[in-house]
């Protein structure tokens, strides 16, 4: 009987350890767009763009800055 105790406990410990995996889920608010007319692929960070627009809306209208698709994503 004692013969099985140590391997049994070891086996159970291994099972517990393997069950302790971590899952990281992050919600990314960026998407890739081509900025015209400058041929550079850029990441538009919607969260930051929204904050910039909140503060600096006097500089121009959102429709002057973003495409229709981007505006939908910003809403």
């Amino acid at each position: 009987m004692r013969k099985f105790i140590v391997p049994g406990i070891t086996g159970m410990l291994l099972m517990f350890l393997s069950a302790c995996t971590q899952h990281h889920v992050t919600a990314d608010t960026t998407h890739r767009v081509e900025i015209a007319p400058i041929h550079v692929t850029v990441d538009i960070n919607l969260k930051v763009q929204r904050a910039l627009d909140d503060a600096l809306s006097f500089q121009g209208d959102m429709s002057d800055i973003f495409t229709e698709e981007e505006l939908k994503m910003l809403q």
């Binding site: 041929h39 538009i44 763009q49 121009g60």
Partner: protein, 133 residues
């Protein structure tokens, strides 16, 4: 009983500290925005005259190094406000100041008129209409 009173005292002090900090923070952001709004017509005029352009850094810069002193002062004041605003937005959105500056570059490049100067990837000044296409 006395212990509980101290607890309430410290909790109240903490709430007061947080609210004062938050209101100072908001006020500061409003002040920066107001200052940038007031400066906007002059900055637009300097851009229309080809003296100032939007730099790759997300800030403004002199296109013509021989621009009058008041234009240099305008650029310095604008950049001071932009840097402060970038810091506030970075803290608000949990991103880096560099990222906010980069996003501002995208925003300002898109807002630029065709005749305005912007810096390309090689930090060369070009009119927006002359890039690409």
């Amino acid at each position: 009983m006395k212990k509980n009173l101290w607890k309430y005292f410290w909790a109240g002090l903490l709430v007061l500290f947080v609210s004062v900090t938050m209101s100072a923070y908001a006020q500061n952001k409003d002040q920066i925005t107001a200052s940038m709004r007031d400066r906007h017509p002059s900055l637009l005029d300097a851009k229309n005259r080809g003296l100032v352009g939007e730099a790759w850094t997300g800030l403004v810069a002199l296109v013509d190094a021989g621009a009058p002193g008041d234009v240099q002062a305008l650029v310095n004041a604008e950049n001071n406000d932009r840097r402060a605003l970038f810091q506030i937005i970075a803290a608000e959105t949990g991103t880096s100041v560099e990222e906010v500056a980069r996003q501002n570059r995208i925003r300002m490049y898109r807002l630029a008129e065709d005749s305005h100067f912007i810096q390309d990837q090689n930090r060369q000044w070009v009119r927006k209409r002359d890039i690409g296409n």
